[in-house]
């Protein structure tokens, strides 16, 4: 049994690399997802995943399947969408969700256009769905660096970030940190999406950011525990998903995300913090 769990990684270097890459991704992305969820911006992660596509595509056009070029392009595109959407939100009648939607849709179309004019549809599939079993050194270093930077930045802006989620107008009234915190946080979102899209593609990378966070909501009552549960479930899902894809010959990215999806479904049913089952059980109410 133990052998069945370990052998694929012992035997094949590409499995080891995939595991390391996914673990690094699981360290940085789920904590960011926890804050996205708590700020009710879950769907924004998805929007940003689309927004980085044209940048990655331009990087691909310029330098082929090069990690630094595609990542830099994706990062620039993501930040541009964040800044433009923020600018439009502040200066016009549009709310943040609408202005973000407008920009990411344009961005997505542009990305698909660029890839299909110049590349083949296989390239497009690669960008959209990633290739977790083909992570090279530069991709691994990039993912690890982003995870490190993410955790360090979160530690620095933790308190204003929590307050920005809980009571943003209070933070604005006591500190000028509100806008810088919001922006830094969005940078982290973009960075983690860029880091992950080599492995999981621009669409499914959002899954390893948000699904563990949403799962954790059913198990933990405060934010720090939520982050721990989210990271732990992302680790477990990476491991299980890779084995699933190895033994059942399934595509790896979807196998990992579906494993976290299964965690979510189970948690939603039996989670201690507001899971469905506990609400359905006829339990007698307490004295006070």
């Amino acid at each position: 049994m133990i052998h069945a769990l370990i052998d694929p990684f012992v035997e094949f270097a590409f499995m080891r690399r995939a595991l390391v890459g996914c673990f690094a991704l699981s360290l940085g992305a789920p904590p960011v997802g926890v804050f996205l969820m708590l700020r009710r911006l879950s769907l924004m992660g998805d929007a940003m995943g689309h927004a980085i596509l044209p940048g990655a595509a331009i990087g691909f056009l310029v330098a082929g399947l090069s990690v630094p070029a595609m990542s830099l392009g994706g990062f620039i595109a993501g930040i541009a969408v964040v800044l433009l959407a923020g600018f439009v939100t502040r200066s016009t009648v549009l709310r943040e969700d609408a202005s973000l939607a407008a920009f990411y849709l344009v961005s997505l179309a542009l990305g698909v256009l660029i890839v299909s004019v110049k590349g083949s549809s296989i390239d497009l599939l690669h960008v959209l769905f990633g290739a977790v079993l083909a992570l090279d050194d530069s991709a691994l270093i990039l993912i690890a660096a982003i995870a490190t930077l993410t955790l360090a930045t979160l530690a620095v802006i933790y308190r204003p970030l929590v307050l920005e989620c809980f009571d943003p107008s209070f933070l604005r009234s006591v500190s000028p940190m509100s806008s810088p915190t919001h922006f830094l946080f969005l940078v982290l979102v973009v960075l983690n999406l860029v880091g992950g899209f080599q492995a999981l593609g621009t669409l499914m990378v959002v899954g390893i950011m948000l699904l563990p966070a949403i799962t954790a909501r059913f198990w933990a009552q405060d934010i720090s525990n939520m982050i721990v549960v989210a990271v732990a479930s992302a680790f477990a899902a990476s491991f299980i998903g890779l084995l699933l894809s190895y033994y059942a010959n399934l595509p790896t990215g979807p196998a990992i995300i579906l494993t976290i999806g299964a965690f979510y479904l189970v948690s939603m049913l039996i989670g201690m913090q507001g899971g469905l089952l506990w609400r359905l059980l006829p339990r007698k109410h307490l004295e006070a």
Binding site: L38, R40, P160, F166, D167, F170, S173, S175, D222
Partner: protein, 254 residues
Amino acid sequence: MTQDPRPAISFHNLTLGYDRHPAVHHITGDVARGELLALVGPNGAGKSTLLKGIVGQIKPLSGSLSLDGLKLREIAYLPQQIDIDRSFPITVFDAVAMGLWHEIGTWRGVDRGRTVAVQDALRTLGLQDLAGRSVGALSGGQFQRVLFARLLLQDAAIILLDEPFRAVDTKTVDDLLRLISRWHQEGRTVIAALHDLDQVRAHFPRTLLLAREVVAWGPTKQVLTPKNLAKSRQLTEAWDEHAEICERGERVSA
């Protein structure tokens, strides 16, 4: 209470509003240091707008206001529309401790002395048994007490309260009023937008009656007369889509 002759807040022909339409216009006058001032007027009179103007959330359309050397951080403001996420997983203790922001900022920890300060604030508001609870589990009145405990810790020179007693039972209102008069005795400047005129008469020495402009401003008894109140109701008409440009110049309100 030392009497500092300089006013805490002065308005100079101040007009505040949204999108060129004034919500309240041509206010001139001073709020003295240590004053306990009620802000009264019908809905739409511009009470909230005036408070937002004082904290700088909206910029004057014309005129100005000065805070006489007081920094914005010395103002504590409890808005009417709180965009607080009550389902957010944070304990009562942590929520109240954020009132210490000026001391702890982004990085400094809540040490023993500050923990005691938070516990004192919780006790003052009768929340000591709820410290470990999540804010989502509180009733409306308890949550209002949490906000007041946080205000208490902010230790501000000017405290602005926008309808602080909405949907709160009489026991809680009494407790909160007691805290407000304690702030008054400590020499803090408190301005509260209120609707309950009996409450204002009983607890607030001075009143500013607004109806999109100053109707009357002074000792509560002289302001809240039937004549002034009738006038304030008349003056508060809604936003006029095709309003003319206001040509009123310097007009000193009494």
